[in-house]
Symmetry: C2
Subunit: 314 residues, 2 copies
């Protein structure tokens, strides 16, 4: 990558350095989520019955997201495929995802796979080997992971990420209404999500990048909870935030960048994801015409880029 952060020739690329460098250059932290809800895919891309069990649906997803990737290349730093929607299509869906990840990376986009994986030791190694290792079967640049099993279960992911220059985003405070059921429960006077954040400090330090000072150990922290985001930022000053819930889930641009701090090109320190609001813009709903979708898509993309760019500069 031409704009990778300078490092010793033998060092692997560093995820956070690459991401932050690219976000500074583009002037906004938008991440485009690749969530191919079958029922919402524009008619121009539909194939077969558009049911999960129909192999033609995987071809439709491929055609649709290939168009999306080609339109966002050079305009955003990173895309986030949500693997559940590919798993829904069986192994053919995973084969499509594999091709899309490769295409996105060839186009210079970073790929964050939203898989929320988590398991004990040797199994966590299996997941890390699947996606993060330098010889991974389906290599991506970063992965979301779930901490419920304990900090020891994050270690295999961290080890592989460190060796291969990949990134991790640990679920800390999610954007859904029930996220408080466990995450907000008080443990010794502090909410559990705060204890999770505190427990990640060691990994955060180990994964700090030489060029930007940001860590490849990131956190997931929903746009719907700005106060909680401040608590997590205090615990983890160098962690990149993956902020879901901007747009469709009700979070505003200014709430989404609540945890960001001053940097050389505006406030920085994370990425803000939008999926449905960009992929399936209201203005293109029900249209059988690809051009109408393209126009509505580009408008939604530019609007999100503009709003988030304003938010980090304002």
């Amino acid at each position: 990558m031409s704009d990778r952060a300078p490092a010793s020739p033998s060092a692997p690329p560093h995820f956070a350095d690459r991401l932050v460098t690219q976000v500074r250059k583009l002037g906004h932290p938008l991440c485009v989520g690749l969530d191919p809800h079958l029922a919402a895919i524009p008619a121009a891309f539909a194939r077969g019955s558009m049911q999960a069990g129909d192999p033609a649906s995987a071809e439709a997803v491929d055609a649709f997201l290939t168009a999306v990737i080609d339109r966002v290349a050079g305009r955003v730093a990173i895309v986030k495929p949500q693997i559940a929607f590919f798993e829904q299509l069986g192994w053919r869906g995973i084969r499509v995802l594999d091709g899309l990840c490769a295409r996105a990376r060839e186009a210079g986009l970073l790929v964050l796979l939203d898989a929320k994986r988590g398991d004990i030791g040797s199994t966590a190694e299996g997941y890390a080997g699947a996606y993060l290792a330098s010889d991974a079967a389906m290599p991506v640049d970063a992965l979301t992971i779930n901490p419920y099993l304990g900090f020891d279960t994050l270690e295999p992911f961290a080890r592989v990420a460190l060796g291969a220059g990949r990134g991790l985003f640990v679920l800390v405070k999610t954007s859904n209404p029930g996220s408080g059921d466990l995450q907000d429960r008080e443990v010794d006077g502090e909410p559990l999500f705060g204890r999770v954040a505190d427990g990640l400090a060691g990994l955060e330090s180990r994964l700090v990048g030489p060029a930007t000072g940001w860590s490849s150990l990131g956190v997931v922290c929903g746009a719907t909870w700005p106060d909680q985001a401040r608590r997590v930022r205090e615990a983890l000053p160098r962690a990149l935030f993956l902020v879901p819930g901007y747009g469709a889930q009700g979070g505003s641009a200014s709430a989404a960048v609540q945890s960001f701090v001053e940097g050389p090109a505006g406030r920085e320190g994370g990425i803000v994801n939008s999926s449905r609001g960009i992929l399936f813009p209201a203005a293109a709903r029900g249209t059988p015409d690809a051009r109408t979708w393209e126009r509505a898509f580009d408008e939604a993309l530019e609007r999100a880029i503009g709003e988030l760019g304003d938010a980090i500069r304002g």
Copy 2:
């Protein structure tokens, strides 16, 4: 299934009723874990380089686990593929897993997919649709899920499981050394895992089976923590326990069935998983001879069946 519990003709099969009926008939609660660690697969089944990136490795996994499934059919009620080891092989691994799940179900085995999935609303629906729906791309009988995101995120899984007669096993107290990092933290005088168990009581009731009274809402509760298992059993008297960690991870047969209660054919109320101890028995290590592996496999299988059968009767 000929021994499915009696129910109205229009009702879907009920996972817990089917599982418990079969366990009673066989006289033991052993579940065989299908964890194809590439480095451990017997030489008799090896193909190509046995590296994750080599497509021949997926063929080796297929050949090996086909032999395993054929040997356990009729001797155990249920098998538990660990999806991480298939994901490690990319989409070819998922295609192999798909075929193995179908083969196991055709042989009368129940299939519990150990995937520990969890995500917010519409994404949880995607995962449930992938594995649990009656028209799932890769249908299995039950799925492990992670509760960290909150109880609302379990609802889509429960709805699909209820409609299709499938089962769920929610992570409550895992078997790894660091499981206490979050799961044991005290919340209002109770450990978090206990709060998780308490919060599952509503789902447990909704998924109770008409024939046996056991619920298709189960829990994962490691064999390494018998005291904690008692706490979970108090909260969830009708939940089936998936007990990992028997054998290789250091739990004994009597500890593994700690949470079981008296039933018509010995103590019952869960399944006890063994993976490596049966798949990769020490007596067959390094042998290039398929017959040596078969003999060692059968011995390890019968030993586990015997120990667990004694434990539920003794």
